[in-house]
Every structure is written in structure tokens, then in C-alpha cells.
């Protein structure tokens, strides 16, 4: 049956409307759970708040397990899912830059916009910085192009590139996630409690 849009159950014309609705809900949840505070995000780096790690890891596991159950029961065809293409070095370098920006600014691009919406000045500065970065990137695109478009590895997943059984992979991944939650809790308890 699913995925709904590629199989024509929901027409393509609804794409933008669905995107807007999901965006509104996503933004609301981010703000409601306090992710629009740069301290919350920086806490992951300094070790006093691991909410970000827990939230995103849990989201990944829940959707992963849910998808594979739906695939098993025949509601969703997992092979029809969109897999983001991998540009190896582009992803590595971009990841490092984003990580540094994440720690230095205390926002990820999504949460920065949430924080702008509630009027945080540091977030406004951050978003202006993003725009300057985008401008520089597009002006110097010819320099970055070989990295940006090179090292293309296709639409692969970890399951393809490691060649493992997806079900075992999910099980081990879940164990890793829960282990990381436990460890992060231990680290948090050792750190001095910070109120913010």
C-alpha cells in the first residue's frame, strides 16, 4: 500500500501543504520541548543536558522499528522509500562544519529558526550568519563543486554498505542507542547541575 505519495494514494500536489503542516508541528514540538534555547543544545557538548541526543536517537529508532514492522506486515514497501544520496566527502566536511557551528552557536538550522520565531537575539544573529555562509558558498560554488558533487556513492544505506541483515542491524542499533542513553545519564549525574 504505502508509501502513500509515491503510490499515488496522496497526490503529488499535496506535497507542499503536507510539508507546511509537518513543518508547523515540528517547529511547535521543538519550541515546546525547549530546543529553541541554545543552552539546551550546547549542553550536549558540555555534558549537562543530553535531551537532544535522546530525542533524535529515540525518533530514529522508533521510526526505524515502526517502518520495518509496517514493511513486514505489508503496509509499506521499504524499497520504495526515498534514500538520501551520499556524497562522502561533502557529507564529512559539511558535518564537521555544522558540528562546530552547532557547538559555537548553540543552534542547529531548524532550532535557530524556532528561536527566531520567539525573538531570541542570538538566534537572529545566527540566522544572519547562516545566510552569509550560504552567500559565500554560492558565490564560490565553482571552488566547492568538485567536493559537492564528487565522491558520489548513490542512494545507499548502512544496511547496503555493510551488507548486514537489516533486522539484526536494527536490534544492535537499538542496543547501542539505549546504552548511549544510560552512559549519557551517568555523565549528566556526575556533572554539576546547571540551572538555565
Amino acid at each position: 500500500m504505502g508509501p502513500l505519495i509515491p503510490n499515488g494514494i496522496i497526490p503529488h500536489e499535496w506535497d507542499s501543504i503536507i510539508a507546511i503542516l509537518i513543518g508547523i508541528v515540528f517547529g511547535f514540538v521543538l519550541e515546546a520541548s525547549g530546543f529553541s534555547s541554545s543552552r539546551k543544545l550546547a549542553g550536549l557538548f558540555y555534558g549537562y543536558d543530553f535531551a537532544v541526543l535522546k530525542v533524535f536517537f529515540t525518533a530514529a529508532i522508533v521510526s526505524l522499528i515502526g517502518m520495518y514492522y509496517m514493511d513486514y506486515l505489508g503496509y509499506v514497501d521499504i524499497t520504495q522509500m526515498y534514500v538520501h544520496p551520499t556524497y562522502l566527502w561533502g557529507a564529512i566536511i559539511g558535518g564537521i562544519i555544522m558540528g562546530v557551528g552547532f557547538v559555537a552557536g548553540g543552534f542547529c538550522p531548524g532550532t535557530s529558526l524556532c528561536a527566531v520565531a520567539i525573538g531570541k537575539i542570538d538566534a537572529i544573529v545566527y540566522v544572519i550568519g547562516i545566510m552569509i555562509g550560504v552567500f559565500i558558498f554560492s558565490e564560490l560554488y565553482f571552488l566547492f563543486e568538485p567536493i559537492y558533487e564528487g565522491f558520489f556513492m548513490g542512494n545507499i544505506t548502512l544496511i547496503d554498505s555493510l551488507g548486514v541483515n537489516p533486522y539484526w542491524f536494527i536490534f544492535i542499533f537499538t542496543l547501542i542507542a539505549i546504552l548511549s542513553f544510560v552512559i549519557s545519564d551517568i555523565i549528566r549525574k556526575r556533572n554539576k547541575k546547571i540551572f538555565y
Binding site: 514492522y69 536494527i170 542496543l175 539505549i178
Partner: protein, 219 residues
Amino acid sequence: MVKKKVAKVLGFRYKALAGILIILAGGLVLLPKYEKHEGIKPEQLLSNVISSARYVSTDKLADILINQDPSYLLIDVRDEESYKKYSLPNAVNIPLAKLLDEDFEAYLNQNSYNVVLYSNDHFYADQAWILCNRLNYKNLNVLKGGINEWYETIINPPKPTEDMPAEAFELYTFRKAASMYFGVAYIQEFKVAPVVKKVVPKKVITVKKKKKAPAEGGC
């Protein structure tokens, strides 16, 4: 007292959630596996088979070939011998028996060309089409009637009789022009009518001689 109990249960909640996740993930590993149906579903295949949208007429194909439309790829599914004897221009030969060879997969499973399959009639081509369709290959068409139809309509178009509508004559002219493109010569039309030399009668230009006017009386 009740509050304490609730707090006790709630304090346990993260461990419980973690346990649920592990059990669910473990369940995926332990579930009995079954072979998945590859390719498209039988119902989908049936509706594709019933639909005649896959057929391309010979006239359309002739038009495509004459205009040298680069988006079309012709695939001859007959055996090699027949392919060598006669085939359409720029066709690729993929014998039906070798249809699923890996060498040919790139021709069939692609997104950039409209593939037209053909054989002597359209039955072998249809079989090839069904096999490929089952594998969910896109942009596949079948030449209606195959090479035989091609021969009967394009290479050797039947002359319309006089009581046929004007469209039949237009079609005939198109087919005839197409067949000329594909190398058929209509000898009777190339017969040059014998040149009859017209005898041009010599024109006699009569020049009126000026008569000397008789001197008239004057001043």
C-alpha cells in the same frame, strides 16, 4: 500514599520504555521471514496487460524514425539470424531467450528512453514486455503487429481504392513517402516520360515594307 506509588511507577518509566524498544527490535529479529514478492503486484500487472497503452502503431514509429527522435530506442527481440536478415534502422537485438541477461539490463531498466519492442508479429514482443513489466521496468512499448505489420503498412502500403475517404489517401501518401525514406523505390514514378520534341514552327516575321509614299502635292 497513592502519590508515592505513582512516583514509584513513574520513576521506572524510562527503563520500561527502553525495555519495550528492545523487545520490539528483538521481535524483528525473531519474526519468521518470508520471501517477498519481487516486482509489481499481480493486480497491477493484470491492469497493465489489459491496457493497450503500450502499443505503438507502425505509422507512429515511422514518424519517429523519420524525425530521428533521439528519445526512442528500438529493441528487436527476435533471434540473431532474423535480426541480421532484416531489422529496423538503429535497432538493438536482444533475443527473447536472453532477455534477462545482465548485459542487456541497462537497455531495458532505464528511465531516459522510450523503448519500443518488436518481433515478427507482436506476440514475442508482448511476452518480453510482460516479463519486463513484471520487473517494474519503465517506458516500455510494443510495436503493434511487429515487422509484418511494418512491411504491410510502411514498406508496401496498400493503395486505397477510389471509394475510400480522403484520410485513407493522405495516409497512403504518408506511408509511401515513409517507404521512400526507408529505401523503397517506386520505379513507375521514376519512368521519365519520353521527351517529345515539339517542332516549333518557324515564325515568319513579316516585315512590312514601307511603301514609298507617293509624293503628294504640297506646298
